[in-house]
């Protein structure tokens, strides 16, 4: 019985203890509020997220740098990922069958910005839409944020979100 209790306590606290070591990847395991790590020195970062919901739930929200062919990542419903970037303006686009949407941000050193993706109802299929957001909005809409799976990330994004893998 004592062993069982010890195991239960360890199982409950281990994710919290590991959060500091690999914040983004491990935080999704923690029941506690997601802790967003600061960007590396000299860099800024953007947290992309997609709210859950039935609308377009089966569709991914693929995020690209404008003009790039390879996606940065693809957001499923209720998922998020963090992109570390050099400071300065940077433009992103999301594509869906019917349309594409773009957003330019001014990335600032040492700061985290938030971008949300929505899949809106379209004529034939969902329409991906990205827009600027806030941490307040992210936390309000993302009670249980989950990190995008590693295989849905570009190598650079994966390195940020799954360090050591």
């Amino acid at each position: 019985m004592k062993k069982l209790l010890t195991a239960a306590v360890l199982a409950a606290t281990a994710p919290l203890a590991l959060t500091g070591a690999a914040p983004a990847a491990m935080a999704e395991e923690a029941a506690a509020e997601l802790k967003i790590p600061p960007p590396p020195p000299g860099k800024g970062q953007v947290l992309f997220y997609r709210t859950g919901g039935l609308s377009g739930a089966a569709l991914g929200c693929a995020v690209f740098d404008v003009g790039a062919e390879d996606k940065l990542s693809s957001l499923g419903a209720g998922k998020y990922f963090i992109l570390v970037s050099d400071p300065g303006p940077r433009s992103f686009t999301v594509k869906s069958l019917e349309t594409k949407d773009a957003l330019t941000l001014e990335i600032e050193e040492g700061e985290t910005q938030f971008v949300r993706c929505k899949i809106k109802t379209g004529f034939m299929s969902g329409r991906a839409d990205i827009g600027p957001s806030t941490e307040t909005e992210f936390r309000a809409k993302h009670k249980n944020p989950k990190l995008v799976d590693a295989e849905d990330m570009s190598p650079a994004v994966k390195a940020t979100n799954y360090p050591g893998q």
Binding site: L103, E106, E111, Q113, G131, P132, T134
Partner: protein
Amino acid sequence: MQPAVVAAEPAPVAAEAPVEAAAPAAETPAPAPAGLLLPKTTPLIIAIDKELGSKISVTGETFPIRLVEAVSVDGVEVLPAGITGQGEVVHAKKAGLAGAAGELVLAARYLDLNGRRIELRSFRFMEAGESSLGKGQDNTGVSNITTAVAGPIGFFIGGGNTNVLPGTVANAKTRNDELFELPAAEAPAPAEQPVQNEGG
């Protein structure tokens, strides 16, 4: 358009003084500090002096800004209230069909101090309920058709098109360390004191 004037090596000002003072045969008193250092990321209060909007503004458009509250270092005013500068519309998107929100992302670029460009960063509107340097002037002059979210890093987004009226107040920070000359009659400044925003 004048080039940015940035102190070449602003940081070591205070640190180097003792080293030089300890130099051999220092007959004269320790050299006076080179000036007043306004550190990078010093918060400023900025007003937008032009109407902007997700429908009427275009990406890349510039707009005038103004320093609302003077900034002092060691009791010496280095950035007087009222100096002007420039901001830029980083992203503008009209409201679309089916409730697509209008989006407006703004950035503060610089303030002009007698031809010297003080570069800015981190243009930021205040979120509802956030305490800030704006001291209650949170987003005065912002109007839109529906509820607006005025968020960090200078953006507005609303259910309809969003307008920013002249006089809207926001925060920005200095991008670089800025070194200012001491006034002629000013005694050497003490080691280092926090920067203050005057007024309000």
